[in-house]
C-alpha cells in the first residue's frame, strides 16, 4: 500500500482524487482524515506537505504531490494499464481531454466555486452570502452552459464519445452546486447537459464516493 491521501471524503477536491482512484480500480490506498475544523491544514506539520494549507495531498513512496487536478493526472498516468482510460487512447483524444480539463479549470470552476463559496462555504463560517455576486456568477454560468449544451448535443462526453478525466473533474463541484447550493437549474434545464450530468453522476465510482461520504 504505497499511496496515502490526506483529505476528507466530504471535500470537493479530495473527492476528485478519490473518484479518480475508483475509476482506475485502485482500492489499495489509505485515506488520512485532515481535521479542518481544528485547523489541522494550517499547522506546521501539514504546511510542510502542502505550503498553501489546503487539502488534498497525496504521498506515494518518496513523492508528495498536491493540487487535486495534478494528483488526478498522476493517478491516471500511474495506473494507465487498468480501469477507465481517463486520458483517452490516442494523441488526438488526449489533446481533447486536456482541452476540456482546461475549460473546467479556467471557465467552469471559477464560476461554480464562487457560487459555492457564497452559498455553502462562507455561511459555514458565519458569512452572509453576497446575492449580487451570486447573480453575476449565475449569469456567467448561463453563457458557459449554452456552450456546453451545444457541444454535448454533438458529443456524448466532453472529449468525444468516451468518458474521461475532463468529465470527471466536473463532478464534485457540480454535485455541490445542485445538492447543497441548490442552484442547479442551469444544468437541469438543458437537455444535453442534463443527460450528460445524469450519466456521469451515476457512475459506480461516484456512487462509491457518496457511500464513503455517508460512512464518514
Amino acid at each position: 500500500m504505497s499511496i496515502t491521501l490526506f483529505g476528507t471524503a466530504g471535500s470537493t477536491c479530495t473527492s476528485l482524487v478519490l473518484t479518480t482512484l475508483f475509476e482506475k480500480q485502485v482500492q489499495d490506498f489509505v485515506l488520512k482524515n485532515v481535521n479542518l475544523a481544528k485547523g489541522e491544514h494550517k499547522k506546521p506539520e501539514y504546511l510542510k506537505l502542502q505550503p498553501f494549507g489546503v487539502i488534498p495531498v497525496l504521498q506515494d513512496g518518496d513523492l508528495t504531490i498536491f493540487e487535486s487536478r495534478a494528483i488526478a493526472r498522476y493517478v491516471s498516468d500511474k495506473y494507465e494499464g487498468q480501469g477507465t482510460p481517463l486520458l483517452g487512447k490516442t494523441e488526438k483524444e488526449r489533446a481533447l481531454v486536456n482541452q476540456w480539463l482546461e475549460v473546467e479549470s479556467q471557465n467552469y470552476y471559477p464560476v461554480v466555486s464562487s457560487i459555492a463559496y457564497q452559498l455553502v462555504f462562507g455561511p459555514r463560517r458565519g458569512l452572509k452570502p453576497d446575492e449580487k455576486v451570486v447573480e453575476q456568477q449565475l449569469e456567467k454560468f448561463e453563457k458557459i452552459l449554452d456552450i456546453y449544451e451545444e457541444h454535448l448535443a454533438k458529443n456524448e462526453y466532453l472529449a468525444g464519445n468516451f468518458f474521461s478525466l475532463a468529465d470527471l473533474s466536473h463532478i464534485p463541484y457540480t454535485y455541490l452546486l445542485l445538492h447543497q447550493a441548490k442552484k442547479g437549474e442551469g444544468i437541469t434545464s438543458r437537455k444535453h447537459v442534463k443527460a450528460w450530468w445524469d450519466k456521469i453522476s451515476s457512475r459506480p465510482s461516484w456512487k462509491q464516493l457518496l457511500d464513503l461520504r455517508a460512512q464518514s
Binding site: E91, Q99, P110
Partner: protein, 214 residues
C-alpha cells in the same frame, strides 16, 4: 506546415504557446493573426473553432484545440523527442511539473491576470482600472510569492533542478506584470524569486516571443 496557431504575439496566452513551440525547437508553423480590435474573435467563423471566443487556437491537420495550457501540453507531447524536456524525464518529474502547472493555474494566475487586466488591458479598451481590486490582488500575490520564495530557495526551478513547462507557464503574465503593469516589486524584492525570474525570462525561447511582440 501542419500546425497553425490563431492568435496575436502580444497576447499573454498566445505567447505561452509560442514560447512552448520555441522550447521544443519547432519553427515549422504558421501564426494566423486574429484582429481583436475588429472583434474577429467573436465572429461566427472563429466561434466555430473556439466557442468561448478567445485566442489562441491550434490546428494540426484535422485536430483543433484551444486553451493555451492544453495547447502547450499538446506541443510538449507531440515533440517529446526534441528540444527541452518540458515534463522532465521521470514519472516523478512529470508529477511535480503537473503540480506546479496547477499552482500557476489556480493560485498565481488568478491574482496576476487580474492585476494585469486592471492596469493594462482595461485601459487599452478605454476602461478605468479598479484600484481596490489591484490592491486586494497584490496582497494575495504577496502570500503566494512568500511560498514561491521558500520553495525556490531549495529548488532551482519549480519542479526541481530542471526548467519545465511549469516555469514557462508563468512567464507571459509575469512579463506583463513587471514590464507593463509596473507591479513587479513582489518579484524583484525576493532574492530567489527574482533570480528564478531573471533566469527563465532570459531564455532564448522567450526572447523570440518578445521579438514578435513589436
Amino acid at each position: 506546415m501542419t500546425i497553425k496557431i490563431y492568435g496575436m504575439p502580444y497576447s499573454t496566452c498566445t505567447a505561452r504557446v509560442l514560447a512552448t513551440l520555441a522550447e521544443k525547437e519547432v519553427e515549422d508553423y504558421e501564426l494566423v493573426p486574429v484582429d481583436l480590435s475588429v472583434g474577429a474573435h467573436k465572429k461566427p467563423e472563429f466561434l466555430k473553432m473556439q466557442p468561448f471566443g478567445m485566442i489562441p487556437v491550434l490546428q494540426d491537420s484535422d485536430l483543433t484545440i484551444y486553451e493555451s495550457r492544453a495547447m502547450a501540453r499538446y506541443i510538449s507531447d507531440k515533440f517529446e523527442s526534441q528540444g527541452t524536456p518540458l515534463f522532465g524525464k521521470t514519472a516523478k518529474d512529470k508529477a511535480l511539473v503537473n503540480q506546479w502547472l496547477e499552482v500557476e493555474s489556480q493560485n498565481y494566475n488568478p491574482c496576476v491576470s487580474s492585476i494585469v487586466y486592471q492596469l493594462v488591458f482595461a485601459p487599452m479598451h478605454g476602461r478605468q482600472g479598479d484600484e481596490t481590486v489591484v490592491k486586494q490582488q497584490l496582497e494575495k500575490l504577496e502570500k503566494v510569492l512568500d511560498i514561491y520564495e521558500a520553495h525556490l530557495s531549495k529548488n532551482k526551478y519549480l519542479a526541481g533542478e530542471f526548467f519545465s513547462l511549469a516555469d514557462l507557464s508563468h512567464i507571459p503574465y509575469t512579463f506583463y506584470l513587471v514590464n507593463m503593469a509596473k507591479k513587479g516589486d513582489g518579484i524583484t524584492s525576493r532574492k530567489h524569486v527574482s533570480a528564478w525570474w531573471e533566469d527563465i525570462s532570459s531564455r532564448a525561447s522567450w526572447k523570440t516571443v518578445t521579438a514578435k511582440m513589436n
